[in-house]
Amino acid sequence: MTSSVVELREVKVERDGRTVLDIQHLQLELGKTLTVIGPNGAGKSTLLRVVGLLERPTHGTVFHHGEATGDGKQDLILRRRLAVVMQRPFMRNASTWDNVATGLKFRGIGGSEAKRRVGDWLDRLGIAHLADRNARELSGGEAQRASLARGLVLEPDLLLLDEPFAALDEPTRLALHDDLRNILQKVQTATLFVTHNRIEAQTLSDELAVLMDGNVRQAGSSYDVFYRPNSEEVATFVGMENIFSAHIIEQSGGLAAARVGRAEITLVGSWQQGDYVLLGLRPETVQIEPVKGEHTRLGSTNRLQGRITAIMPFGGQARVIINCGFPLVSIVTQQSLMAMRATPGMSVLATFQTAALHIIDRSRQRVTLTPTSRPDTSKP
């Protein structure tokens, strides 16, 4: 067995009689990073607090390094091996330097050792010039950097990060991703990382868990979760905005023809005629083109005719809603929109690769998260 740093068994947290967290099983190993994503109020911060021994679960047990926790004295020793960076950067009314040194001081680390480590992390997070400033006067992002430095300076066995980059500017965020991934790989730390940022979620770790209403809805590699979601909710949450149920009408070799509303599409795989399958499609994989030419069946590209109902800006691109009997969302560049002179009401063909269709397989639903028993999720 690998060395498990944290293990949760049948952990439940209740508040005012409501269950806000309900984890069957969760395990975290040395050198691994588990990213937790989920909607607001899903229980992510609660999970973090429970894992960090800051809050006792109503039921169940939290194991650290194989030992059951819950004994005050023992817990302190275990807490000294971890570091929590909370969602909000709560700063002591003291200088930034003192704030970052707080955890070291608790551990009796002072002198040149503390000076070196604190100085180092202030530098890495670009806040060395703020060392002498009262931390209560820092800007939102500066405070979050200080909060992050305060945790990282401890070089813990277990690192618990609750949206640590939410207030950072993008260049810093990017630089920190690279930095942090390198550090975490080098220093054999187990990390639990909560984020709302989809790119971040896929960047910082391979393992991902989706928490919803206090339950782990899906767990696996980030590819697994983002490209093979096991339920409509997860699919929607990870950005598969287009979800529809298809009725297989014909099977031919590795391809099948299916009916979605009044439209017909091609999908990959072997199916029984009459089967119903749930399909997910990311809007960025849907292109639009002017209506022209023939409609080919069972090809590698699906073409659905529809009418544009709305065009909305999305970053440098645009989100286009097309009514093909059912609404289909597409994200396209401004350029291609201009080239087509697309306007609401216009008839267009929405096209997407057959390979871009994801089958949402509810049978893969599972609630425990044990890396060792995880189904094989090798990437394509």
Partner: protein, 232 residues
């Protein structure tokens, strides 16, 4: 009004002449109230911090008792302490009655709930999530408590001032248990009462002014301390 003015003049005369009786009274006052405040501080701040952060059944009852203690009349405290310290009382063996020790005991009983109650209120006002964050950085429960107390240092200083003020300004209890014995247990308040009883209003006012100056001095000192510590 003229009386007050004369009193003020007399106060400064007494101070500048280093009047030996006054010096003795000052010394007893400072020793007794200083010790009582210190003891109350050492007991009250940790207890208050604990009550402010730790929720347990019966906490609200404990708070009500502390708060009642804040409003407990010094004369009542004096009466009870006196009865306890009587030769025939349960603590008679200590032979504390009519000594500064008895006064320290009484003033501690008066200042302790004030300091505890306000420490509690000060610490309870600190966001509990800050405490969680500190624990999450490896603080032991005691370290976290200490850090939270440090966060509340501004209102805590006010609590200390109030505790010291309550102790030094009290007269009913120290009169009863100290006896206002000249050269031994006479403090500024009891001396003021004595002089006022004798009809020596000038001296009484002089002593009042000196007492106020003493309190003011201590408070300005503490305030400067607080200002200096604002940004550590």
């Amino acid at each position: 009004m003229e009386l007050i003015w004369n009193g003020i003049v007399q106060a400064f005369k007494l101070i500048f002449h280093l009047d030996s009786e006054l010096m003795n009274i000052l010394w007893v006052t400072i020793r007794v109230s200083g010790t009582a405040t210190l003891v109350s501080l050492l007991l009250g701040v940790p207890l208050g911090a604990l009550l402010g952060t730790w929720r347990f059944p019966g906490r609200s009852a404990a708070l009500s008792i502390i708060h009642t203690g804040m409003g407990a009349p010094p004369v009542v405290v004096g009466l009870f302490v006196m009865i306890m310290l009587w030769r025939s009382g349960p603590l008679g063996g200590l032979n504390f009655l009519y000594t500064p020790w008895a006064m320290i005991l009484a003033q501690t009983i008066i200042a302790f709930p004030i300091i505890t109650g306000f420490s509690m209120a000060a610490v309870a006002q600190i966001d509990p999530q800050l405490r969680q964050q500190l624990l999450g950085l490896g603080a032991s429960r005691i370290q976290a408590l200490r850090a939270v107390v440090q966060e509340a240092r501004l209102p805590l200083l006010t609590a200390i001032m109030a505790g010291f003020g309550g102790a030094i300004s009290e007269v009913g209890a120290v009169m009863m248990v100290g006896g206002n014995i000249k050269g031994e247990t006479r403090v500024l308040t009891t001396a003021t009462v004595l002089e006022s009883g004798k009809g020596e209003f000038g001296t009484a006012i002089a002593l009042s002014v000196i007492l106020l100056l003493l309190v003011f001095g201590v408070i300005v000192g503490l305030t400067v301390l607080q200002q200096r510590n604002r940004i550590t």
